[in-house]
Symmetry: C2
Subunit: 227 residues, 2 copies
Amino acid sequence: MFLKANKIPEATITRLSVYSRVLQILEKNGTLRVSSEEIAQLMDGTAAQVRKDLAYFGEFGTRGIGYDVSGLNKNLMKVLGLNKGRNVAIVGAGRVGRSLALYSGFEKRGFRNLGIFDVEHSRVGGQVGELTVMSMNEIDDFVKEHNVQMGVVAVPAFYAQEVANCLIKAGVRSLLNFAPVSLVVPLGFPVRYVDLSILMETLSFYMGIEEQKEIERANRATKRSAI
Amino acid sequence: MFLKANKIPEATITRLSVYSRVLQILEKNGTLRVSSEEIAQLMDGTAAQVRKDLAYFGEFGTRGIGYDVSGLNKNLMKVLGLNKGRNVAIVGAGRVGRSLALYSGFEKRGFRNLGIFDVEHSRVGGQVGELTVMSMNEIDDFVKEHNVQMGVVAVPAFYAQEVANCLIKAGVRSLLNFAPVSLVVPLGFPVRYVDLSILMETLSFYMGIEEQKEIERANRATKRSAI
DNA sequence: CAGTGTGAAGGGGTTCACAGCG
DNA sequence: CGCTGTGAACCCCTTCACACTG
């Protein structure tokens, strides 16, 4: 269907999601047309990149005019597979898992959270919003029965690989992992990580760089004033 | 001090954090030495990349032997700025902000969460663990008084930019943003995003690719059997 | 003429291969 | 001899510049 080349940068896919979000806002505001330049300004990006990204998937624009807002958004949603809904199950009824289960914002984008599970027996049977926490024994049947395509791993690092294995064996097609471990999965199996420690530590690094620059600036200033 | 070149890939910094985590585990297990090859196997990576990453910051290894586990980890922690503690404040006492405030795991890595704030008056005064939710009016003084270096933005998208402006003006040196908007910040100001929608939508895309491949495989199979 | 679509150039990061050293 | 440290080759993504079209 789409996919003119099969070498699409991963960064492009990430931006596709952002484009779609921007277009949704424009659509709500009643904007009918946008140029690549305008889209670029609404995120951080360049017009050339917007055009190149979109061109991987088709010729959505009109030369001299720009892009039709709602038409382009429909196309991007389709490319991202958000037109057919995606079924999700969460494993881990701790703070992260519960927060996620209670958050309804994803449903607007086609994700339905159908179930929440936990490895700890003490949590099984508890309520999280409308859902009852289920046992890991039930997960295999549940995934198959409800066609769960995406598994969310929100358990302590120690259990993460085991939970991932269960989910994959049960038949999910992708994983979103909140545990700070890199999961071993079949080649090509889609996984994404949410790892706050890494993000915070990289921020810490860059703060250090800025601090250093300031010290250097200060040193230069005192040297100059000493002349 | 360190920094032999000033062109260090951002991906390298991300991996630095992972190396440090791996080393911490090895240290706990009583392992004294590792090779770049072994480190690579414990995350997903190659030995060459491990060596190149580390070489940006110094010569930490011994040729023919490998790296001293705890020594290397100490060095990496220092590079990441985790030896001196980092003070954090959270804005937004919704689910995300509260989860984060209640999570104590970061303290082992040198991050101290000192305060939680909210834009909604109804939440001000509430308790989150040991902390009392403060009003946004108090944030400027608080940041200065407690030397808060990192601000966490955990408010709805609508308020995110405004909150970011407040935090930057008050003097924080970096931002971790959970709102699905790209923040406008001064040039070079460190920001990281946690954007679950983007992650889930990229997963959805790659699931679509796999689905397509399967359809193609199925088509080929039926064609072949039709001969 | 304005703005898309795209080949070509450029730049940044990863991989390779080996020199260097304990 | 083993494993690190590193210049060079390679590859992929981004940026540039312009041909093309409504």
